[in-house]
């Protein structure tokens, strides 16, 4: 068919328009696809903001409606983008079809003209050329393959080699970590010791005692007030808190002689709350453990009374930080970092982390937290070269800068009634709660869950970890040991009674105190070896304290000092 010049011109124009159209559609689709791949509709900042508002105040129905509406909007926008890409594929095919047809029509009007070179090709030189081309192509491909084999191998570790390297790395980390997790032998300043990490220093602790016949019981004194908090120690002074006849009290005890040096009230300062908020009947008002440094001791109680005394019992400051109200009462213990007292505040109305000036009591910072109240305590850890306060929250595990209160990172954690405090070692953070699971998290903004297991889940007792093992005891009477790095269960053992007190690692041993007051001492290793079983003769839910070869246990009514005779 011989088309007229005019027809060819028109067809040519149409084909050019179709070509441009096809290219534009293709580029738009590619960009659309990239967007679809990269953008998650539910990551919209406005949606996240409104969700955050909802988390702070779940009772607000309008916000809930707004969340639903925005969620729907985000999803619609996403599916609309998908629809656009799908429609684009039809347009793309249509554009290509028009282009092909018009070009075919134009080409069809031209009779193929045979064209040949004036001289016949020289077969010898032609073959020579082909050989050169083929060898060059093979060389290029081989070079690319060799380079790839090295480059790709570098980024994708090979099984055997890397496992050996990993072993070396682990050793290095372990050495570094052991230093970071070392604890002093005298001071036991917070709930579960230094940093609240559950690791105590010193050696020569007795493993056998009997509260009934007095074996290895150095002294025993009644604690004036009721409380579930644990002893904290600095130098020769041991501190406890309790409630006696409606008065909240702090006790300073001579750890050698077993005498109460002074008792101070935490109920009689101006602005003190007299309110006794609802709490678990077993727990009461004096669940949080006090915190001590070489100069002051601070304590907090279930009604939000926060007090600070010097070592002579002189009140330095006191204030009420708001009466916390939650299902089981207030439970978070205190931490001291440098000159700052760290308070994890959990109430149905508000959850936050606060920093107070240790000498004046002035609030230096407050960082609101999202989620629901928990009954766990904060932990002070050194991770990635930075000191951090870690909170096992619901639903996030979060980390804060103890100096400024700034949130360092937050990762999805657990839900439900979260009471066990986190465990940390030099690499991971471990969180657990009953009816949920045990999780090992790689800390940091880019961190995530490393492993998890739901076989053994404590409801009150906190886990403890070193770089090799993670130990925990549960409300069902189980004790278990995990490979801290991989999460494999190395051993488990069922004891007769449940555990509320948190296990402590000290002197290469694992110290587990059950609710009946029996201390089980096992080797802190990957193999279960029970070394001793020592009854206190009194029930206990408080965690033990270790100092200078002596173990301090708070029973239901008495404080015990256990040392070798």
């Amino acid at each position: 068919m011989k088309l007229s010049d005019k027809d060819i011109k028109i067809l040519s124009g149409v084909s050019q328009v179709a070509a441009v159209f096809t290219l534009i559609v293709a580029v738009t689709m590619i960009l659309g696809l990239i967007q679809l791949k990269v953008v998650n509709p539910l990551d919209s900042p406005s949606l996240a903001l409104i969700k955050e508002q909802y988390d702070r105040d779940p009772s607000e129905k309008n916000i809930a409606e707004e969340v639903r509406a925005m969620d729907l909007l985000a999803r619609r926008a996403y599916f609309s983008s998908r629809w656009q890409v799908e429609t684009g594929s039809y347009l793309l095919i249509a554009g290509a079809l028009i282009f092909v047809l018009t070009r075919r029509l134009i080409a069809g009007s031209e009779k193929p003209e045979p064209a040949f070179a004036s001289e016949k090709p020289d077969i010898i030189s032609q073959k020579k050329k082909y050989r050169v081309y083929l060898i060059s192509a093979a060389t290029i491909i081989t070079v690319i393959a060799i380079i790839s084999s090295f480059v790709l191998r570098g980024s994708l570790p090979e099984t055997g080699v890397k496992i050996r390297e990993a072993g070396q790395n682990t050793k290095e980390v372990k050495n570094a970590g052991t230093d970071a997790l070392m604890a002093g032998s005298t001071n036991f300043p917070f709930f579960r010791g230094e940093g609240s990490r559950g690791i105590a220093g010193g050696t020569g602790y007795p493993v056998e005692w009997n509260g009934n016949d007095g074996k290895n019981i150095k002294w025993k004194i009644p604690v004036p007030g009721h409380g579930k908090n644990s002893p904290v120690i600095w130098g020769n002074k041991l501190f406890l808190t309790g409630i006696r006849a409606g008065t909240l009290e702090v006790y300073c005890i001579d750890k050698i002689k077993g005498e109460i040096i002074w008792t101070a009230s935490a109920s009689d300062f101006p602005g003190a709350s007299k309110e006794i908020p609802d709490s678990d009947p077993e727990a009461g008002m004096a669940v949080p453990t006090a915190a001590v440094n070489g100069e002051v001791v601070c304590a907090i109680f279930g009604n939000g009374n926060l007090v600070c005394f010097d070592f002579d019992g002189k009140r330095l400051w006191a204030k009420n930080i708001g009466v916390p109200k939650s299902a089981y009462g207030y439970a978070a213990s205190l931490l001291i970092y440098d000159k700052i007292l760290i308070v994890q505040y959990d109430s149905d109305a508000k959850i936050a982390i606060k920093g107070f000036d240790l000498s004046s009591g002035d609030q230096k910072w407050e960082t609101p937290r999202t989620g629901r109240p928990v009954w766990a305590s904060p932990v002070l850890a050194s991770l990635d070269g930075q000191t951090q306060v870690i909170i096992n929250g619901n639903p996030n595990v979060s980390s804060y800068d103890p100096e400024t209160g700034a949130e360092l990172w937050s990762q999805p954690g657990l839900s439900g009634d979260v009471a066990p405090s986190p465990a940390v070692n030099s690499r991971f953070v471990y969180v657990v709660t009953d009816y949920a699971k045990l999780m090992a998290l790689k800390p940091g903004k880019t961190g995530s869950e490393v492993w998890s297991d739901n076989t053994f889940t404590p409801d009150a007792s906190s886990p403890v970890a070193n770089d090799q093992f993670l130990f925990l005891t549960t409300g069902a009477g189980d004790a278990a040991c995990y490979n801290a790095e991989k999460g494999d269960t190395l051993w488990s053992h069922v004891f007769d009674n449940p555990f509320y007190a948190s296990p402590i690692i000290c002197d290469d041993k694992l110290w587990m105190l059950d609710r009946s007051g029996i201390m089980y001492v096992a080797s802190a290793s990957g193999k279960f070896t029970l070394l001793a079983e020592s009854p206190l003769g009194e029930s206990s839910d408080s965690s033990p304290a270790f100092s200078d070869g002596r173990i301090y246990l708070r029973g239901k009514d008495n404080l015990y000092c256990i040392a070798k005779d």
Binding site: P114, Y130, L134, E158, G447, S448
Partner: protein, 442 residues
């Protein structure tokens, strides 16, 4: 009136030329409309996640296509191959081959939606050969073998008019641009590499890459990943100028056809009678698949020819061994194609270097309760398979290269212009350039 009839007849004769293209356009539009209607019904809000414990009913899958239909496909394949061979060799009809392309595109492409296809069957066969647990469907075996038998008998008639991938490109390639021979040499080696890797990945139960990266299945089905639809359309547009780009520079089954066709007993010829060496067809093949006549008048000193012959003969085993070593060395990198190996490496990187494993498969693995030891041992098993398979693939590639180079040292007397039996797609484009053909037709 007579004038009008003449004009109509004249126009019809002209239009007849475009009927195959118009038919393809109609197929595509009809197919798109049907598909769009189905799709419209699927455009619903995604299934909600019920918290009330409501159990979503199990998805009902459509019944599989009956085995009789599979045999019908095989029968259609044999019929199409036979007809195309007849058109290419006996009838010498470019038009007939073109119509076969339209039929194959309609049947194997749009109707059967590109599956089953001989190109992809390479993987089924490879998987079956190295895995006792996989039972390869008989139809897949037949789709793999029959076109190769036809290639041995009549050349690449499958590529000419039966393969839907070839057909769609054949119909859109009409403005050929000749590629420089050096570029052609590099690109023409890719199908062999692609073939080797496809067999390796299928045999190690890692991936069916031919199906995954089939550029035209997206057009046949209109529900493939959009990236593949874009790739397919762009390849078609490029194919207007660089004809049959997929067949020439990618198709792994084409590499097999290339090898088998070299030994074909009866291949398409450019001229129906004795070649007059008029050279009119010399530049007409868009695939550079015409070998000129060689009367051996101009020769090299025998010593040089003999030395080169020996050198390239010795190079064959050297290249074969080098290929085996090279590919063996690449096995850890190549094994990353396997999803389990990638997952294991992701998990290991997280454990060793703290790089978070955020992929969906990592999340699924963590939820699955499967232990890391299991995963790592699977990785080792797969890596072991790669270590076994890669030397063979390397040997095949080295041998192909060595044999290809060696064949260039051999010179035979050729009195006529004839197709390069390995490269020739038997498309019949060269027929109309032959003056003898024109003379016989008239």
């Amino acid at each position: 009136m007579a004038n009008k009839i003449f004009l109509f007849r004249n126009n019809f004769r002209v239009l007849k030329k475009y009927i195959p293209y118009l038919l393809v356009a109609v197929f595509l539009i009809w197919h798109s409309v049907i598909f769009a209607q189905e799709r419209q019904q699927q455009q619903r809000f995604p299934r909600p996640e019920f918290e009330s414990g409501y159990q979503t009913p199990t998805h009902q899958l459509l019944n599989q296509r009956g085995p009789m239909w599979e045999y019908a496909d095989v029968a259609v394949l044999i019929a199409a191959l036979s007809l195309t061979s007849w058109f290419a060799i006996k009838k010498r009809s470019r038009k007939g081959i073109l119509w076969m392309s339209v039929f194959s595109l309609a049947y194997f492409g749009f109707y059967r939606q590109g599956c089953i296809c001989s190109v992809g069957s390479v993987q089924n066969i490879s998987l079956a050969l190295f895995n006792n647990n996989y039972s390869v469907p008989l139809s897949a075996i037949l789709f793999f073998i029959i076109p190769l038998i036809f290639a041995l008998l009549y050349g690449r008639v499958f590529c000419a008019g039966v393969c839907p991938l070839g057909a769609i490109q054949e119909l859109t390639g009409f403005r050929p641009v000749r590629i420089h021979k050096s570029v052609e040499a590099v690109l023409a080696s890719i199908p062999f590499i692609y073939l080797g890797l496809s067999v390796l990945f299928a045999a190690t139960q890692s991936q069916f890459i031919i199906c995954r990266y089939d550029p035209f299945v997206g057009i046949f089905r209109l529900n493939a990943p959009f990236t593949m639809i874009i790739f397919g359309v762009l390849l078609l547009v490029a194919g207007i100028f660089v004809n049959r780009p997929y067949c020439r520079y990618l198709c792994p089954y084409g590499a097999l056809q290339n090898i088998f066709s070299r030994f074909s007993g009866k291949h398409l010829t450019i001229t129906p009678a004795e070649c007059t060496n008029c050279r009119l067809c010399e530049e007409c093949c868009p695939y550079d698949a015409i070998l000129p006549s060689d009367d051996l008048k101009k020769t090299e000193p025998k010593e040089i020819t003999r030395k080169r012959f020996i050198l390239y003969l010795v190079l064959i085993p050297i290249m074969t061994i080098a290929g085996a070593i090279l590919l063996y060395n690449l096995s850890p990198a190549l094994s990353a194609v396997n999803s389990n190996v990638r997952l294991a490496r992701e998990i290991r990187l997280e454990k060793e270097k703290g790089v978070p494993a955020l992929s969906k498969s990592a999340a699924a693995f963590k939820e699955s309760g499967k232990t890391e030891e299991q995963l790592f041992s699977e990785e080792s098993v797969i890596l072991g398979r790669f270590r076994k398979g890669t030397p063979w693939v390397g040997m095949f590639l080295g041998l192909s290269l060595g044999a290809g180079l060696f064949s260039m040292t051999i010179r035979k007397t050729r009195t006529e212009y004839k197709p390069d039996q390995g490269k020739c797609f038997s498309c019949g484009k060269c027929f109309e350039y032959c003056p003898i053909e024109s003379k016989i037709s008239k």
